[in-house]
């Protein structure tokens, strides 16, 4: 069996696992409000079960391994004709998957910190806000850097589809995280109540799963 096919299948499964991790963490339910100095606190974290955040981190670590392999498969498939694009795709893809773990873990840990501090009562809100403000400022630089790296990897796949490096239909260039995120925002704009959590949950990870799907179709 073609090893790149195995890597791409791992990429598809990995992306879908990341979706599961996102749902556990980011499906906050109705009546959620943004709180805190930087509006980085979700009021519904208090209603959500704590196991969801720990499990979400574990699933994200496993899922991102698959996502990294999915990008590697694409990089390997295009390496003959496009060595530079291949190297950039492979490196930013794996670095982006690493970033996915960082981004996901730090978001989940924020929720855990908030829940634990607030278990002492409503009067602890200023402690929680101050704590999460410090945490938020410290994690932001690597967070932004790695998100950009992940987007770069996604754009590399789009280029590989559009320039014919991958033998897939050109419309498949639309199957990426950025487009999926835009669709999520569009749905939220249409019905804010129903699709409040949609851009955060599922959509970007579903886009990453599509990298695996693109790799599979290119091989078959």
């Amino acid at each position: 069996m073609n090893t790149n096919l195995i890597y791409s299948i791992a990429g598809l499964i990995g992306g879908l696992l990341c979706c599961v991790g996102d749902v556990l963490f980011d499906l906050k339910g109705a009546g959620n409000q943004k709180l805190g100095t930087s509006k980085n606190i979700d009021s519904n974290w208090l209603k959500m079960a704590e196991w969801r955040f720990g499990t979400s981190i574990m699933i994200a670590v496993i899922g991102d391994i698959g996502v990294g392999l999915g990008f590697y498969s694409i990089a390997d498939q295009i390496s003959g004709m496009h060595p530079v694009l291949s190297a950039v795709t492979g490196l930013t893809g794996y670095a982006g998957a690493v970033g996915g773990v960082l981004i996901h873990s730090s978001l989940c840990i924020q929720a855990v910190i908030y829940k634990r501090i607030m278990s002492g009562g409503e009067e602890n809100f200023s402690i929680a806000d101050h704590t999460l403000e410090g945490f938020y400022k410290a994690i932001m630089p690597p967070f932004v850097l790695l998100y950009l790296v992940l987007m770069t990897a996604d754009i590399c796949v789009v280029i590989a589809v559009l320039n014919g490096a991958l033998a897939v239909p050109k419309w498949m260039a639309l199957l990426n995280s950025v487009v999926f995120l835009l669709i999520g925002w569009l749905f939220r704009a249409i019905d804010p109540k129903k699709f409040q959590d949609l851009p955060g949950i599922i959509m970007p990870s579903l886009g990453l799963a599509m990298v695996g799907l693109t790799g599979i179709i290119a091989i078959l």
């Binding site: 960082l102 101050h130 410090g134 690597p142």
Partner: protein, 218 residues
């Protein structure tokens, strides 16, 4: 291209070690372990937030870089034994991702202690958060130490000693397990090395594998 990967791998491991150094210097030399599980360093609340940020950024950048060194070594195995090379690549891809989670856990622990305590929180809150983080990062910890350090080192020894990768046998010493052993020995021999982070030695061991890959290509 795989020579370049190996060189990038060596650079990545050095950069990661520098990141580890920033993380471990937070506790200084006069820190004592506090808390119920003795997992908290008393000096963490005095550490600069910048050190955590620098460490996190350096780790995030360097892990994909030292991973390229491992990819390069996988390629060297593949030249003689394709199946074994592919298996090494997959196993190490999993292990390296575990390293990310493990490093993040190490970075987040001091940061959380510092921000919680400075915000008027209690040691109990910090320990409760750690307990959840430990559970969440258990998969990463197993992947890191199980695969990245142990399986990786043993795999490298096997391929060198059986001649699958043709390099001087002495290079078996350039592996995470060998570096870990030396780090432990130094820590036992002298107080100077007691604060010497063992994680740094592991990371340098991963760079050592990139050196082996490079030597085998020369």
């Amino acid at each position: 291209m795989y020579q370049i990967f190996a060189i990038i791998g060596i650079i990545g491991s050095i950069v990661c070690s520098i990141g580890d150094f920033f993380l471990y210097r937070c506790k200084g030399t006069d820190s004592i372990r506090i808390g119920k599980d003795k997992k908290i360093e008393s000096n963490w609340d005095k550490a600069k937030t910048g050190d955590f940020v620098v460490s996190g950024v350096l780790a995030s950048i360097s892990i994909p870089l030292y991973y390229l060194g491992l990819v390069s070594f996988a390629q060297q195995i593949s030249l003689q034994n394709r199946g074994m090379g592919i298996a090494y690549f997959i196993v190490l891809t999993i292990g390296a991702m575990g390293g990310v989670g493990f490093h993040l856990n190490s970075c987040f622990m001091p940061l959380i202690y510092k921000v919680v305590m400075q915000s008027g929180g209690s040691l109990q809150i910090v320990e409760e958060i750690y307990a959840i983080m430990r559970k969440a990062c258990s998969v990463s910890a197993v992947l890191t130490y199980g695969i990245l350090v142990f399986v990786n080192s043993i795999w490298v020894w096997v391929v060198i000693l059986t001649g699958i990768v043709e390099v001087p046998k002495i290079l078996c010493l350039l592996t995470p397990l060998a570096f870990l052993f030396v780090g432990n020995l130094l820590a036992k021999c002298s107080k100077v090395f007691q604060t010497f982070p063992l994680a740094v030695t592991n990371t340098l061991g991963l760079g050592g594998i990139a050196v082996i890959a490079l030597v085998s290509m020369l």
